[in-house]
């Protein structure tokens, strides 16, 4: 089978989630990597994609229409390319979720969302109902469009490959949408989906200031990424991109420290594949303790600063 992987990149580097998607694609067949972007950054990203182990070929679509991954333009680029491929795989990220279904509909294919394993050429498993059930599904479509849950597949090595880079062009700007900027806080902290350790805070953190005072020093001490429950994001303690859960980010770090998080099923859906879960909560019956490997019942406002001090 010939597969095409939509690469996500930034600063000329391939994102970790794409490395996992390359692994999933490799289970199906040969892997071509499509880099969409503009200018020097895209060229660098294409060169980086070419060295990823398991990538046989890199397609580079460069131009202003592709600079921001606008779904309208990127889907219009991918659809004709799919004449030569049997499967498109994207990360189950905000970008992949935005683009893949648009391509699937244009190909008249029913997409497989958020796969966690490859069971055969046309058979995959995927979580449904916030991960409370795992469905094994088989596609009957002639082509496959798939989004891949990055935490479920090992990352392909970013070095070792030596694929050629081929330029491709598409229909360009579809004239339907334009990019109006982004608001993101640049942070030196590890990105949530690739962090080895995550410290997450819940509604019990009271407000934005307290969240900062309690959670950040512990995260700094451990070199950890910082996450939050939906409740903490809704309450405005932290921005939306901190949210871990069914509809936020799916994470699986080595260690996940849940502070003042009760453990609603929607939150558990986003972190229960973490290797070790540590929970700190004042309510000893909180559902988070049912999944935690190590639990400590008590007042987080006393425990967390003491813990930070002693580590």
């Amino acid at each position: 089978m010939k597969t095409l992987v939509l690469v996500e990149h930034g600063d000329g580097k391939v994102h970790d989630a794409t490395l996992a998607t390359v692994t999933a694609a490799g289970k199906l067949g040969s892997v071509a990597a499509l880099v969409c972007g503009d200018g020097e950054e895209a060229a660098k990203a294409a060169a980086a994609a070419a060295t990823v182990a398991g990538v046989d070929k890199v397609l580079l679509a460069s131009g202003p229409a592709y600079a921001q991954m606008l779904a309208e333009n990127v889907a219009a680029l991918i659809v004709p390319l799919m004449d030569d491929y049997d499967a498109l795989l994207c990360n189950a990220s905000s970008n992949g979720k935005n683009v893949a279904p648009r391509v699937a509909a244009l190909l008249d294919v029913m997409q497989l969302s958020d796969i966690i394993s490859v069971e055969g050429d046309k058979t995959f498993t995927r979580p449904i109902y916030a991960g409370n059930a795992i469905a094994t599904v088989e596609s009957s479509d002639p082509k496959l469009v798939i989004t891949v849950r990055g935490t479920a597949f090992a990352k392909a090595a970013s070095e070792g490959g030596s694929a050629g880079v081929e330029n491709v062009s598409g229909p360009g700007d579809q004239g339907l949408s334009s990019f109006g900027g982004c608001e993101s806080v640049k942070s030196d902290r590890p990105e949530l989906t690739s962090a080895k350790v995550i410290v997450s805070g819940g509604r019990a953190l009271k407000d934005a200031e307290t969240f900062k005072e309690v959670i950040l020093p512990l995260a700094d001490k451990l070199g950890a990424g910082v996450g939050a429950s939906r409740a903490a994001v809704d309450a405005g303690y932290v921005p939306n991109d901190y949210q871990v859960g069914q509809t936020g980010k799916i994470v699986a770090p080595q260690v996940y420290i849940a502070v003042g998080i009760s453990g609603a099923i929607q939150h558990l859906a986003g972190m229960k594949d973490s290797k070790t879960i540590i929970a700190i909560n004042k309510d000893e019956d909180a559902p988070i303790f049912q999944v935690a490997d190590i639990g400590l019942v008590g007042d987080l406002f006393k425990i967390v600063p003491e813990l930070t001090g002693k580590l």
Binding site: Q68, A100, M110, N132, I134, S139, G175
Partner: protein, 248 residues
């Protein structure tokens, strides 16, 4: 401008789903069902746009069993003007749902279609994007803020890196994220009024859409269960455990 808003009847947000013993699916018998929470946000946004004078009429659509009529009545009680139920007892995949919505959009000619970004049942997160593709129109997914001005809509989107803004030419499809708004509760008088609002009943065949599934569910199983571990007595013990993990 007319707004089309799509709503799905799903397991209630607070119910813990149980896998059927025979592995054929999730047990929905005698389980509380509600409007998909993301769709509630879509309905609310449509109403707010009408309140701002940006929309004249709101048409709610649901594709599902006869009981999805209750979900539509909820949308009507919140403030939608009329409803269309496309009735089928079969499970309809996002692609077929998008095709039905496309046919309805062809008839209704909405300026804006609002949908939840995903249903909390199958977690597909596809329908809005597919509909936009089939309509040949732009999409604003995972909306955190929606501003209609003239012939365009500006959508602030919740993305992995934070927030991103796109400007789309109308007609457009927008899918809603959690923090777009807080849906209102329908008042009792409005619930009563909703009973007499028009609701037309259709079938997928009326729109010429084949709903035969493309994906075959071979089995549905329980996820691996995580066992609860140990509780430690104090911070010193926790520090020792964390050090043993090799992260500090």
């Amino acid at each position: 401008m007319k707004i089309l808003v799509a709503v799905k009847r799903v397991i209630d947000y607070n119910v813990k789903p149980r896998v059927k013993a025979d592995g054929t699916g999730v047990d929905l018998a005698n389980v509380k069902m509600s409007m998909n929470p993301f769709d509630e946000i879509a309905v609310e946004e449509a109403i707010r746009l009408r309140e701002k004078g940006k929309a004249a009429e709101i048409v709610a659509v649901s594709i599902g069993p006869a009981k999805a009529q209750e979900t539509l009545r909820t949308a009507l009680a919140m403030g939608a003007d009329r409803a269309i139920l496309v009735e089928t007892e079969d499970e309809v995949e996002p692609l077929a749902v998008a095709k039905i919505l496309k046919a309805i959009a062809d008839e209704e000619q909405p300026g804006l279609v609002l949908l939840g970004k995903q249903a909390i049942s199958d977690d597909s997160n596809q329908t809005g994007q597919m509909l936009a593709a089939l309509m040949g129109r732009p999409q604003g997914t995972f909306a955190n803020a929606v501003e209609v001005e003239g012939d365009s809509v500006t959508v602030k989107r919740e993305v992995d890196g934070g927030l991103e803004t796109v400007k789309l030419t109308l007609p457009a499809v927008v899918t809603t994220d959690l923090r777009l708004n807080e849906p209102r509760y329908a008042s009792l008088p409005n619930i009563m009024k909703a009973k007499s609002k028009p609701l037309s009943a259709k079938t997928p065949a009326d729109y010429g859409v084949d709903t035969a599934p493309r994906l075959k569910t071979l089995k549905v199983s329980e996820p691996p269960v995580r066992q609860a571990g140990v509780k430690v007595a104090d911070v010193d013990e926790l520090v020792a455990k964390i050090k043993a993990l090799g992260i500090a």
